[in-house]
């Protein structure tokens, strides 16, 4: 079964920044992803303070509505939502809350999680209508009841676990590995890379393969062959790395400008909005389009 048909809750739906393709100037006019993120953090902090003042959660319980499905267990073959009431603690995240529900109430509640610090990328869920990492989403920032669902547009294996194989296939399809064969001969000699170039690829290298972007993308939802934001970003990470030769870069551009590649992107920015690592995915896709044009590669 799939969550393909689920309607996101409209009040939590991120506003697209622009439906138009931004020009270069508009692009460069955007503040850096880090700045935007810090801005959001300050807003979040203020929001939490208000919430704390108005409605002290301390000592309270959190109401969770969690999606349940198991293909082989009677009563769970039809998807349903289970309610859990979990004691709130300061700093509690969505992941903390579902762990509590599992360990105290229902040991069959199933979800992927590992590092608890937003680096393993296991616990992207659909929380109150938006793709988020469970471990870095504070409960106090959410309206209750908190709805926790598996990522939309992927097959559900069980409860909050989705099948990631398609995502991995797309990631692998862009030849996601360094291909430079001509390396320095000297003993312990590294390839040189400028600080500027390292800075240019830096954000793209932060991807943790959580799949939030792919799940949020309308194009990916409608075109199963679309490479998707994460895979294209992976291609960007290598195509923009000056340590690889020009011909390898051209080879990479040919991969991403194929029929189901960069030209499918309609710059809705939903991927960029949900990325937990603040990677400017849409900008990276746009830049690859421009590179492909510059190289005179075939247009679809």
């Amino acid at each position: 079964m799939s969550t393909q048909q689920q309607e996101p809750e409209t009040d939590a739906e991120p506003e697209p920044e622009s439906q138009e393709t931004p020009t270069d100037q508009e692009m460069s006019g955007l503040s850096s992803p880090q700045q935007k993120r810090l801005q959001r953090k300050h807003e979040g902090a203020a929001e939490r303070e208000r919430a704390a003042a108005e409605d002290d959660l301390e000592g309270d319980t959190v109401h969770l509505k969690v999606f349940r499905f198991d293909p082989e267990v009677e009563g769970k073959q039809e998807p349903r939502f289970d309610d859990f009431h979990v004691p709130f603690e300061r700093g509690m995240t969505v992941l903390d809350a579902v762990i509590y529900a599992r360990d105290e109430f229902d040991s069959s509640l199933t979800f992927r999680h590992s590092c608890r610090q937003a680096i393993c990328g296991s616990d992207a869920f659909f929380v109150n209508g938006r793709q988020r990492l469970g471990c870095k989403t504070q409960i106090s920032e959410l309206d209750q009841p908190v709805r926790v669902e598996p990522l939309p547009h992927q097959e559900v294996v069980k409860d909050l676990v989705v099948d990631m194989d398609h995502f991995y296939d797309q990631m692998h399809s862009v030849e996601p590995y360094f291909q430079q064969e001509d390396l320095p001969d000297g003993e312990l000699e590294e390839q040189r890379q400028t600080r500027e170039n390292r800075e240019k690829v830096k954000m793209s290298t932060r991807c943790i393969w959580c799949g939030a972007c792919m799940s949020s993308c309308n194009i990916a939802a409608g075109d199963n062959d679309y490479l998707g934001p994460a895979a294209i970003n992976k291609a960007y990470r290598f195509a923009m790395d000056e340590r690889e030769d020009e011909e390898i870069k051209e080879h990479r551009l040919r991969i991403v400008e194929q029929e189901h590649g960069v030209w499918r992107c309609q710059t809705q920015f939903s991927c960029t909005e949900v990325c937990p690592k603040d990677i400017p995915l849409t900008e990276h896709i746009q830049e690859l389009k421009r590179e492909a044009v510059k190289k005179n590669l075939k247009f679809w």
């Binding site: 810090l38 082989e72 267990v73 393993c120």
Partner: protein, 617 residues
């Protein structure tokens, strides 16, 4: 049944490097991992990779620093191998495209780190582990190495000769998390354990939920000694509610620790009059806990780490990631308020006893990375030495398992007649009410009368598959009893309470009793989730058993070692005792019986002998 030359268990830094090493040596290699490789906990490493790359530095300085940092409990051949191989293996990562931070001339950046005589910590932002992990996974994809992801390895298929040194490992048994199928994986040349640390034995740890010491426990039950398990590193700055790590970099940049009364206790209470907040990790952790224990902690739990005086510009420039961590995981804005921190379990220095080629005493069984003990870190690991260990010894284990000749190992493995045995009277018999009733003694009984001994690889594997299928059936079919979460919570609480930064004889004995109670409770454990599909209840139940076995070895080691060395502090003897304790602690099952014994540390290096000195910085 699946079949490959080399099977690597775990796909973090050590596992990926082992797989690539074996592949380069021509082997058909496969990785079996309970996670997808990019989910592995290597990704959480922040600091960097120590490697002597530059003019003015050399491997001998790196080796010296490491030996001193180990408080003279590292073995010289292991340490020298690490220091010699790290430069080339680090540059190999660069050649694979790893996005290291760069200098103006385009060379890779290095920075100073605690305990290093030269700034040799090679880094990629404050996310070195993430880049290391992804770069190596990319190379695994490039080489087309087979990965069985979300397959949980439950046991090793090992022959059952009475002496573990005579045994051979022929493969592993794993279950497919997605489908619940239990299958055998035959390894024609070798099995490499790269399963990471056992941090989940503690309830406050920087380690991932998946760090459950699976490899350690499986090797231990198969007869491989656990070495120096008592040496557990507690990091002084972790967030109280989650255990998320706040990098040493905050103190490096000038962050200050305060107690509840606003005292800068590192100085005002005389814990480290020279280095203050930048004293070594064990010193700062003990200081923080002393403050809390003496009533000067905040909410009786933590202290404050304040970086506000550094100014937002400097914080944003060098410590941006710390702001995100404090905000996301503690709801604290480090720019406007101090961050709560307390010590948390961070790293296990000990592990599966191996030689410098990654080989254990069981033929065909290897270990590398945090689950292994070569031993490089001895009593205390230096920051920046975990990642080079992964790549250096991962690669060596992979190549050796594939059949490459790396030369004769200098480090001995396995129990032998004539070793020094511990004769302390223990409050419990190790393994009783658990291991004693499965595997270890049973196989010995079989072997004792010479009948039923299995040595053909297929037979050993099939028998193990059958046993593991029966175990799963039993756990699934049992309808009531106790659940793993309750046992695990009890174990973690006991370990954090009594096997923490401060250790006393009474506390350690109390912990052993609690571990025994966990063992007994575990006999009644059941899995409530009836599904074969993605049954994490079952997986965590099996992991909990591994944690119990590993916790016992940690606590036994801590009890017998009555001295203060590196990360291990004992109230009854608060000094390093070189006269009696320049030796490794080993806990093992020999001929079906548990024993604790010792092997002298090797201080003789290639060209020189390391003389133990007072460890001061």
């Amino acid at each position: 049944m699946y079949e490959h030359d080399v099977i690597v268990v775990g796909a973090g830094g050590a596992g990926l490097r082992a797989a690539i090493g074996a592949h380069e040596a021509g082997a058909d290699v496969a990785m079996v991992t309970k996670l997808h490789p990019v989910r592995s906990h290597t990704g959480a490493a922040e600091g960097g990779i120590n490697a002597a790359l530059r003019e003015g530095d050399d491997w001998e300085l790196h080796a010296y620093d490491t030996m001193k940092g180990s408080d003279y409990l590292g073995d010289a051949p292991a340490i020298e191998t690490l220091a010699q191989d790290a430069p080339e293996d680090t540059i190999t990562l660069e050649h694979w495209g790893m996005p290291f931070s760069r200098e103006d001339d385009g060379t890779v950046s290095q920075r100073p780190f605690g305990g290093l005589s030269f700034p040799r910590t090679t880094y990629a932002g404050a996310e070195t582990g993430h880049h290391l992990l992804h770069t190596m996974y990319e190379q695994v994809v490039k080489r087309g190495i087979q990965v069985y992801d979300e397959w949980y390895v439950m046991n090793l298929a090992v022959t059952d000769e009475p002496d573990p040194n005579d045994r051979t490992c022929h493969g592993v048994v794993a279950y497919d998390v997605q489908s619940g199928a239990v299958e055998g994986f035959k390894a024609n040349k070798g099995v490499i354990l790269a399963t990471g640390g056992p941090g989940q034995a503690f309830d406050h740890t920087t380690n991932a939920v998946s760090c459950t010491g699976d490899g350690n426990a499986m090797a231990y039950r198969a007869g491989v000694p656990m070495e120096d398990m008592e040496f557990v590193q507690f990091h002084p700055t972790t967030l109280p509610s989650t255990g998320v790590l706040i990098s040493e970099g905050v103190r490096g940049e000038g962050g200050i620790l305060y107690n509840e009364g606003g005292e800068r206790f590192m100085f005002e209470h005389g814990y480290a009059n020279n280095d203050g907040e930048l004293a070594s990790r064990d010193v700062v952790s003990r200081a923080e806990l002393t403050e809390v224990n003496e009533g000067r902690g905040i909410e009786d739990e933590y202290v404050h780490l304040d970086m506000r005086h550094l100014g937002s510009e400097r914080i944003l420039d060098r410590l941006e990631n710390i702001l995100h961590l404090a905000e996301d995981f503690e709801g604290v804005d480090g720019l406007v308020e101090p961050m709560p921190v307390k010590p948390g379990q961070h790293y296990e220095m000990g592990g599966i006893e191996t030689d410098e080629n990654g080989a254990t005493c069981i033929d065909g069984l290897y270990a590398a990375g945090e689950c292994a003990c070569v031993s490089v870190h001895g009593a205390n690991r230096l920051g920046g030495n975990a990642l080079p260990e992964l790549i250096v010894f991962g690669k060596r284990a992979g190549r050796h398992a594939a059949g490459d000749d790396l030369g004769e190992a200098e480090i001995e493995t396995g129990y032998s007649e004539g070793v020094e045995e511990e004769d302390m009277e223990l409050p419990i018999t190790p393994g009783e009410a658990g291991i004693a009733e499965t595997g270890a003694t049973e196989t010995d009984d079989v072997a004792a009368d010479g009948s039923g001994q299995l040595s053909d690889p297929e037979g050993v594997l099939e028998r193990t598959v059958t046993e593991e299928r029966e175990r799963v059936e039993y756990l699934m079919e049992k309808d009531d009893g106790i659940q793993h979460a309750e046992i695990r919570a009890k174990l973690q609480k006991a370990m954090t309470e009594d096997v923490n930064v401060f250790r006393t004889e009474a506390g350690l004995k109390r912990a052993l009793q609690a571990i025994r109670e966990c063992r007994e409770a575990y006999r009644d454990v059941y899995v409530d989730d009836p599904s074969r599909t993605f049954n994490t209840d079952l997986q965590m139940t099996i992991e909990t058993r591994n944690l119990i076995d590993v916790a016992e070895t940690i606590t036994l080691g801590a009890l017998v070692r009555n001295e203060f060395r590196g990360a291990h502090w004992r109230q009854e003897n608060q000094e390093r005792d070189d006269e009696n304790w320049l030796k490794h602690t080993l806990v093992s099952w020999n001929g079906g019986k548990p024993s604790i014994w010792y092997r002298p540390v090797i201080l003789e290096g290639e060209d020189k002998t390391y003389e133990p000195k007072v460890r001061s910085y």
